[in-house]
């Protein structure tokens, strides 16, 4: 294997990082990356900027955790790099912005079936005060596993209930959850209730089934309850703006950024009527909305385009919704959204243990009609923009965070390996609990053969 050679002026920093840990049991015992203290020049790579095409033989100049410049082939840093700078010859390897898992429970769940390790669902149907970033476990063993396949950023979502809290954007390295947090309050999450009919989607608990008594009523009441939460928050905000003596209510305060349009509301909705009614509600309440799921979004493209509502496709590797649906219905969803002129990104679904397969969801979408460049954008820049972090993440551009990966090929292809990864300029390890276990037990068989 042809690893990028570090023709560095200073080599030691990386070696120590990678040697610190041996055994990795029930949590991530790997050392976190040290802050970037010196400029780094990633030299002679194929830069997939996403925002500005592909730069062959280009270089990336990283400084203070950010991309200082994207240099074309032959272009030298100006002013020239100091002696402390680290220069890594990529030998024609590929550089991509860090992949972004736009809808996950990463950091909030360690083991799905062990209740004690699940921090996704606060008690109550309406708990906007809950913030995902607060409960992210920086030592979750799942974080290095996702990172190893190039997922360097994630939007982690609370779940359960109607308004389970606020999603947070995290980067997948840091000693504390504060270190990891990119955007603590990316936006409140709303599970828009919907009557379930027949053999439809079996995932999610987004409303009573049509067989239930008064299911339609129940759905209407649940929608009203969500609406009421926002109405009450608006009333509180107006009152408190007029009279500072109005006491703080953290539930209402939690919704203020959304009411002010500073963040979107992430609305979980798949069915046509569900999407239409959620968008209509958001319009009436003057909220920005992001549809999470969006299985029927192509059918109401005009509405979504008019209101500039983007969609987080919640997994391409899904079963068709209905018995009669085309076998590839979920595979072609991104292509259909693209054809309809919608903004969207691709996620893997909320189960964190599949985050590492993010590029393959995009790859399947590409095999089923989505432009390959668009597929890459759907897990990088488009995701960043929809999550409200497009100014910092998602592309290789001067001024953005130095959150990127170096690979030996297209990340949408299975054999491609991630060889280096940087989060905010910090070179992070690509080892994980899993790689250490593999190493440990390969050693067992090596010992046996040695005997």
């Amino acid at each position: 294997m042809n690893h990028p050679a570090r023709s560095c002026r200073r080599r030691a920093a990386f070696a120590t990082t990678l040697l610190l840990t041996a055994a990795v049991p029930a949590q991530d015992l790997l050392t976190k990356a040290a802050p970037q203290t010196a400029p780094i020049l990633l030299h002679n790579g194929v830069l997939h900027t996403v925002s500005g095409g592909v730069v062959l033989g280009g270089s990336l100049w990283l400084e203070n955790g950010r991309i200082r410049a994207v240099l074309a082939a032959g272009e030298q840093p100006s002013p020239p790099l100091g002696d402390d700078a680290i220069v890594i010859d990529l030998q024609g390897k590929h550089v991509y912005p860090g992949l972004i898992s736009a809808h996950t429970s990463l950091g909030l769940v360690e083991i799905g079936a062990v209740r004690q390790t699940v921090d996704t669902s606060e008690l109550g149907e309406l708990t906007p005060e809950a913030i995902a970033a607060v409960a992210v476990n920086p030592d979750s063993a799942a974080i290095p596993v996702a990172r190893a396949n190039g997922v360097l950023v994630a939007a982690t979502f609370p779940s359960g209930g109607l308004l389970p809290g606020r999603a947070s954007v995290i980067q997948l390295d840091g000693w504390t959850n504060a270190d990891m947090t990119v955007r603590s309050e990316a936006g409140p999450v709303v599970a828009w209730p919907q009557q379930r009919h027949g053999d439809g989607l079996r995932r999610g608990r987004r409303g009573p089934a049509s067989g239930d008594d008064d299911a339609g009523d129940a759905v209407a009441k649940q929608r009203q309850r969500i609406d009421l939460a926002f109405t009450a928050a608006r009333a509180w905000l107006d009152a408190r703006s007029a009279d500072a003596a109005v006491p703080i209510d953290i539930r209402h305060a939690a919704l203020v950024p959304a009411l002010r349009g500073e963040v979107p509301v992430f609305v979980l909705a798949d069915e046509l009527e569900q999407i239409e009614s959620a968008v209509a509600w958001a319009a009436r309440r003057q909220l920005r909305v992001v549809i999470v799921g969006g299985r029927d979004a192509a059918a109401c493209a005009t509405l979504l385009r008019e209101r500039d509502v983007p969609v987080i496709v919640d997994g391409v590797h899904e079963l068709p919704r209905r018995e009669d649906s085309a076998y590839d219905e979920p595979f072609t969803l991104p292509a259909r959204l693209a054809d309809a002129g919608l903004r969207f990104c691709i996620a893997t679904g909320q189960d964190f243990s599949f985050d590492r397969n993010l590029p393959y969801h995009a790859a399947t979408a590409a095999a089923f009609g989505l432009d390959r460049e668009r597929a890459l954008a759907a897990i990088t820049l488009d995701a960043a923009r929809i999550l409200g972090v497009g100014d910092r993440l998602g592309s290789l551009e001067a001024g953005k965070d130095a959150t990127l990966l170096v690979t030996d090929g297209d990340p949408l292809e299975l054999p491609t390996r991630v060889e280096l990864a940087f989060v905010g300029g910090r070179q992070v390890t690509l080892r994980s609990k899993q790689s250490e276990l593999a190493k440990k037990y390969r050693e067992r068989y090596r010992q046996q053969r040695g005997r």
Binding site: A26, E110, I111, G112, A113, V114, A141, A142, V145, Q195, H197, G198, D199, G200, S210, G211, E271, L272, E273, H317, E318, L319, P320, R322, E323, D324, A326, Y327, D328, D351, F352, S353, R356, N357, Y360, A363, T364, A366, A367, F368, L412, E413, L414, P415, T416, R417, Q434, S435, L437, A438, Y441, R442, R444, Y445, Q448
Partner: protein
Amino acid sequence: MRPRTAPGLFASVTLVAATIAQGPPANGPARADAGWFALTGARVVTAPGQVLERATLVVRDGRIAALGDAAPPAGATLVDCSGLTIYPGLVEPFYASDVPALDATTDDQHWSPMLQPQRDARDGGLVAAADRAALRGLGFTTVACAPAGGILKGTATVVALDEPTPVSKPRIVLPRAYAVASLQRSRDGYPGSEMGAIALLRQTLLDGQWYERCQLAVAADPTLAASAPQPSAALQALVDTRQLPLWLDSEDELQALRLLRVAAEMGLRPVVIGSGMEFRRLDALAARQAPIVVPLLFPDAPDVATAAKAEAVSLRQLQTWEQAPTNSKRLLDAGVVVAWTTARQRDRKDFPAAVRKAIACGVSHDQALACLTTVPAELLGIADRAGTINVGRPADLVVVDGELFAAKATIREVWVGGVRHGLHAAREPRFDGAFRWVDGWPATTAAPTLTIDGDRLTAKCGDDSLQVADVARDLDALTFRLAGKPLGDVHGIWLRLRVRGDGLAGSATTTAGATSDVTFARGEAPAAKPTEDDEDFVPPALTPLPTPLGGYGAVEPSTAMEFAIVGATLWTSDGRGVLRNGAVVVRDGRIVFAGAKSEMPALGPSTAVIDGEGKHVTPGLIDCHSHTGISRGVNEGGQAVTAEVRVQDVLNPDDVNWYRQLAGGVTTVNQLHGSANTIGGQSCTTKVRYYVHDPEAMHFAGAPAGIKFALGENPRGANDRGPTTRYPATRMGVEALLRDRFVAAERYRREVASYDALPPKQRALTLPPRRDLELEALAEVLAGSRRIHCHSYRQDEIFMLCGLVQEYGIKVGTFQHCLEGYKVADAIRRAALGASSFSDWWAYKFEVYDAIPDNGAIMHEAGVVVSFNSDSDELARRLNTEAGKAVKYGGLAPWEALDFVTRNPALQLGIFERTGSLTAGKDADVVLWSGDPLSYAARCEATWVDGVPQFSLARDAELRAGIRQERTRLLQQALAAGGKGRKAKPMDPKDAYWAAEDDTGAYCCRTAEDAR
């Protein structure tokens, strides 16, 4: 004219003398009614297709005494039936009657309350009073009552639809007509699944045979009595009823096939009690040649009130709704013996309309009559006494005004054993007719004309209708009240009319107190009544239906193609690696050549040539862990050990996921029982032959048998809610239970072997060992002829089973999941044929926290035969890229990685001789890919199984267009049906039709949470 059962209508005229003698003393003088009638002038349909015009039928002492054109005998009460038709009384072959459950605490009961074959319908209430009237109202005179509830329910009794009196019981026509079985599941115990119910039924029927053999042995050698099996009323009943036909109470067409399989194994004479859905598997059912008792229960139009609801209705549901009325016609045309039952009717009143629908679909009147008379009588074994009109038989008659099956027919009387039950009797005197006013009227307004038709009375002044109210009649008078605008300021006029001559005469009184004598004369016959509701039913075309029913089925059975794919890259999976510029030639369902294009044999003119330039061909993919297409429960979780249950018993060929998996190149799967118990059920190796008519044709014939074991959290119940109450609760208990069952199986094997070794003469003098299907399967495991597919995660449990099987000198077939297999790969290599794993699943429960994606590669490097599987309807469609992960994690060569889903699972399932590689002579299970199959960029373009095209992108496009077209047509019909004032009822998910759509119940291999 509401009262239909007014006092005095039931002329209880005769009782069979013998019944009186047996009954209690009469409370008063003994009755001696004459019971001698002559029904004259009737058209008599004696049997389907046999009619006597203007005949006289003499009834005496409950029986038909004479029939023909002779004059009625003097002394008989004359019943004028001119203009009426007399049919034989109808026979209801299946009526579920309540029979008290037996006291389960007594020793001679079966341990399972589901098995009470000793119950007898006579121990219960037979036909409930309300149902007696309802059935007679439809023309039934004879009913077979079967005990309701359970798997082996007991025996049915045929009774006459008499009204019992304090001194008489219903006439028993046949005390024991048939035994009844069903596949009822228990809510909270064993069997909780359909495969469990089948296993319990099968085992119990075998127990009955064994019980009888023991009795024969004891008879031959009385000294054996001491060690004979304990007396069992249940098993004795099976011995006693062995000669009776076994009626199979089925919930849907697939269940009918499954029940028929068991009956055939046991050599029993089966009759299917159907669901009305038989048309969905018509050919397979017709081939079984069993009579079917068909309910005429047609689904309501699906609820399509909103776009979302319409979208949720599948084409299969729409087709089922449209085609259900054709069921009987299709069965009859296919040569099936069909009888009809009202048993599953939600309301028996709907039955006549349903009969008319069936007739509209092409069933002839004679066939319909046979379905209701001679055929059920034949099936019940009472053809000598019911079903036709013959002299000497009980007088079970239906007297109809009109054709029995016509919409306007009115059943006037039903005679049961010579007892007359008036229903809509045209009572004497008859008022029917149209009458014009002649004379007398108490008001100044015009007098009305009257039209009387049975219960219906209409009145008009000119063209204006009057309100008619409070219609009543006593013996000789008809009274009613008229009101309405044409009567001017007179708010009401009361009329009392009697028959006089050919007209009516009586008096009319106004509210003002004015009374006049009035007379009416018979006038013109009334105009024909407007058509009734159900007569706008348009029968669907009787075109052939697709198999499976639904969007992706095929009308024409597909046959093996002769074809060659030329110029493609071949992934051979047979040691030759990947061949560029190759060719595959398929003929008669086999691969006849797979190799370099340059060496390809000359192709015949009938060979279709497919240009494979730039494309890739792989063997059909094999999913070594699937739960696709398993009806009503993937787990039989009712017991810790359920080796007796068989997934192959409940294969569901209708699951659309089969089609979806074909679109991902899957051609063979290992259908596994779930992991709820330590020793689960027997697995089924299945070829994805989506278009076969007979579900059993999907079984991979000749594949080695398999069985599911499960270790760790699932069989411990660790992830279940609530306390663990079933042993085992720990991994220690799992080991102990396995060991215990191995010991039992070993002992069983020895017992059976030593009995089998006896010379025949001595065998007759020896008590035979009881055939135990659970231990038999485990004995096969110990004999090495049944492969263990063991759900496992942690290294300790894997290691445990490796050691245990080595003690018995056998090997594990596969460790399934085996996510810590990488820790003990050496032990697995020695003790198992292989390991079948997920590529990269982890962290969904504690025991998979150490799962790593290098697992497959590390085991492979250590010499284990490794496959990757799906355990998921969704993932099964992407096995090719799952295999690709073995390249990514562990660095296998691409051809080695593809083996994970071709050669290796074939080896693990023992079918590599037949499939799993592109090798001449093997089954033509072949997949054409648009590119490198290990890349997510590749799409499956076509899939063949045994050379039969099962999927192609071109055909898929056609199917989509067809689905759109059919859905449009049927949704429009559903809307029309819902828009005619008949409110479309939402389909009840508990309804038997839709219960056929599978609910795969409890957890399989991940956790309880996932399955929900």
